[in-house]
Each structure stands twice: as C-alpha cells, then as structure tokens.
Symmetry: C2
Subunit: 229 residues, 2 copies
C-alpha cells in the first residue's frame, strides 16, 4: 500500500520547482507563509515544515518580521541541490547530467589513486570480489547495485570521509532514478576495467589505479549519455 504523500512534501516540491525553475529572481520576495498556506489549501504548519527544508538547502532566506526571499542556488546551494536541478519539471537536464558524470569520473579517479596507497587488505579483497561479480549480474538492477557497491568500497578505501559524503549525495540520484542510470552498466567491455582497477589498488599502484578508474568511468559516461540522448 503506497502511503499517501505528505502535505509538507508536496508543498516542498512545489516551492522547490518554482525556485529552481527560475520563477523567482534571486532576492525576490516569496509569498507570505499565510498566503502560501491559503493558496495551496494547507495549514501554515505544513508550509513552515517545507520552508525549513528549503532553508536547510539554503534555497530561501527567512528573516523574522520580514518576508522570505529566494537565494541564488548557484551561489549558495550545496551539493544536495543537484538532484533537484537534474530532475526539474522540464525533465532531465542533460548538461547537468554531463557535469555530474564528469565530476564523478574525476573524483573516482582521485579516490582510486588514494586507495592504492591506503586500502586495507580486506578492502582490496572485497574490491577484487566485486570486480568479478559485476559482469556476472543477472539484470541491470543487480549490475547497478554491484557497480555502486564497488564504487562505495573504492571511496571507502580512499580513507577520505569527504569523498564518502559526496558519493552519498550522488548515490541518491543513482537509486531514486535507477531506470535512467541503467546505461552505466550497459556498455560492453567494462568487466576488464573493474578488474584492472581492483588489481592496481591491491598492488598499490596509484597511477595505474587512477587511470583504470578514469577509463572505467569514462566508458560508463559514454554509454549513459548515449542511452539518454
């Protein structure tokens, strides 16, 4: 039984789209909370809960006694905003997708470089195992899950918590819209690259590890951009 969507979530979604969709200029006043509640036919408390989330994302600025104002997400928004600009009402934004994949590729390559110097024995073993299992996955969903498990282990092995958190932000997009990301595992020729990466990390060869990950991610990138284009 699909539980009914929360009222505050609906309000959040509407405001999010209005702001990210450019229906408000940065600095422009938002309608008052009372007005929003009346227009949307909901209680003011629900509006406030939605506003608190927008405030957490730094999409709006609220000042007691004054109006709420929208902020320039490109200037103040954090990484968690990316999902909302990738999938706006207008559909998938391909230039944002390209940027996302490029950033992913560069960061994973750097993580591989770090991992080659820091990975524990267990991490090296698990990476090797996952590299073998990814190509053997039954369907796209399983392959995606294994691919992400591989990347998660890789980033974990880099020993840098910041990259871990960045990957977490990306993971949400990956799984919330799994169908759109099937392309990352669709390309043939990926299997040897997983193995090359795992081997280089186990061998403690930073440059080779980074190269392998860059190649792997670039191939996934190509496949995905073609699939969605």
């Amino acid at each position: 039984m699909a539980t009914r969507a929360l009222v505050s979530d609906r309000v959040f979604g509407e405001l999010c789209e209005s702001i990210l969709g450019g229906r408000y200029e940065p600095g422009e006043k938002l309608p008052t909370q009372r007005t929003l509640a009346a227009e949307l036919g909901v209680n003011m408390a629900s509006v406030r809960e939605a506003v608190k989330r927008l405030e957490q994302l730094e999409l709006v600025e609220v000042r007691h006694g004054d109006a709420m104002r929208v902020r320039d997400w490109r200037e103040h928004g954090g990484l968690d905003v990316i999902g909302h600009v990738l999938f706006s009402a207008a559909g998938l934004d391909r230039s944002t997708l390209a940027a996302l994949l490029e950033a992913r590729r560069l960061m994973l390559a750097e993580c591989a470089r770090l991992a080659a110097g820091r990975r524990s024995a267990g991490q090296a073993r698990r990476l090797a195992e996952l590299a073998e299992r990814v190509p053997k996955a039954d369907d796209a969903a399983a392959a995606q899950a294994l691919d992400f498990a591989f990347m998660t282990e890789l980033v974990e092995a880099s020993g840098n918590v910041v990259f871990v958190l960045i990957l977490n932000s990306i993971r949400r997009l990956y799984f919330d819209h799994a169908d759109l990301f099937e392309g990352v595992v669709a390309e043939p020729g990926l299997a040897p690259l997983y193995r090359r990466a795992a081997a280089a990390i186990e061998a403690g060869a930073p440059a080779r590890a980074a190269g392998a990950l860059a190649d792997l991610a670039a191939l996934q990138e190509r496949g995905l951009l073609e699939a969605t284009g």
Copy 2:
C-alpha cells in the same frame, strides 16, 4: 542587535549533536516527538521543524505510525553534513579537517585542469587580477575573502556545476568559522603560486594549471594544519 536564536534551531542543534556524537546507534529509535517536546520544554511544532531539517540531511528516518530512527550519517549523509561533524561539541575534529583539505586540494587541481581548457577571456582576466590582489590584502580576513574569490572564479571557470555546488558546501565552513581558517593565507610563498595558476589557466595549459593549484592548496593545507595543531 543579535536576534534571539530560534527554538527550532536550538532543538535541531541538540538533536544533531546527539546523533553525530554517537549517542544513538544507527537504526535506534529516537524519543517520540511528543516526548522530545516535553523534555526540551518546547512545542511539538518546533520539534517537527527541527526534525524536517534532520530528515533533509538524511540524519533521521521518519515513518508515519512508527518511531523516528537515526540513520548512519557515514552511509547516508550528504556533503552538507560535513560541517556538523567537523565542529561537534567535542571541538574541531582534526582528522576530518585533514580529509576536507585533501579533498579540496584534489578537486581544485582538477578544476584548474578543466578551467585551462574552458575558461572565458573574462574569467582568465579576473583570475589574473585576483592573483595580484590576494598578496596585497590588508588583513587576514581580506586575504581569506580574496582567496575564496579566486577559488570561486576558478571553479566557475571549470564549467562544471557540480564542483560549484561542492565548493558552496565548503564555503560555509570557511566563512562561518573564518578564524579557524586564517592559516590558509598565512603561509609565505603563496603569492607566486596564485600567479602561476592564473597564468597556466590563461595559457590553456591543463597540466601546469593542475600542478600549480595542487602546490598552492598543499601549501595552504600545511599552513592550516600547523596553525590548528
């Protein structure tokens, strides 16, 4: 006139510390909203607003009809969580700071590489200008502001919106705790590196640009870690 802290902000802060401070195991039930409201002596609506922010950060999972449960921030938390783990109640976490600076260095180097191939004429000019102005800053605060302006322009020139958003997440730490980050501009010998970086980007030399930024960031990193150690 410092406006009094909001009730929901106070609740948010307390819960945030409890969760990030490890006072709850991942998956453990949180007290009920009614209980929290009673214990903290506040209204339930204020608790809910705080919870919505925690939910946005994916620090808690709320299920209608069931209890609220804390999530493992290391597994689900996005980049925006970093600030709360860097500055917990126990003070500044130096290992997290080291990770942050390392990730910053690697990403800025990659941004410089991209920028060398994509920067507009105006961006190249502004980078060169900022490179000249940074060393001439009157005090630490001004130097920090110029340093960040330089990095902002650099990331902007990389043409990748994901890196822009990541930098935004980092900027908050930078400015909300400006005193702790004075070290980034304290090191002598930074001035020529800014110029080298700007020149390489203007010349369209990716490898040189990446190298210059890596050196620059590494020097800042050293200065900051020494200053806070």
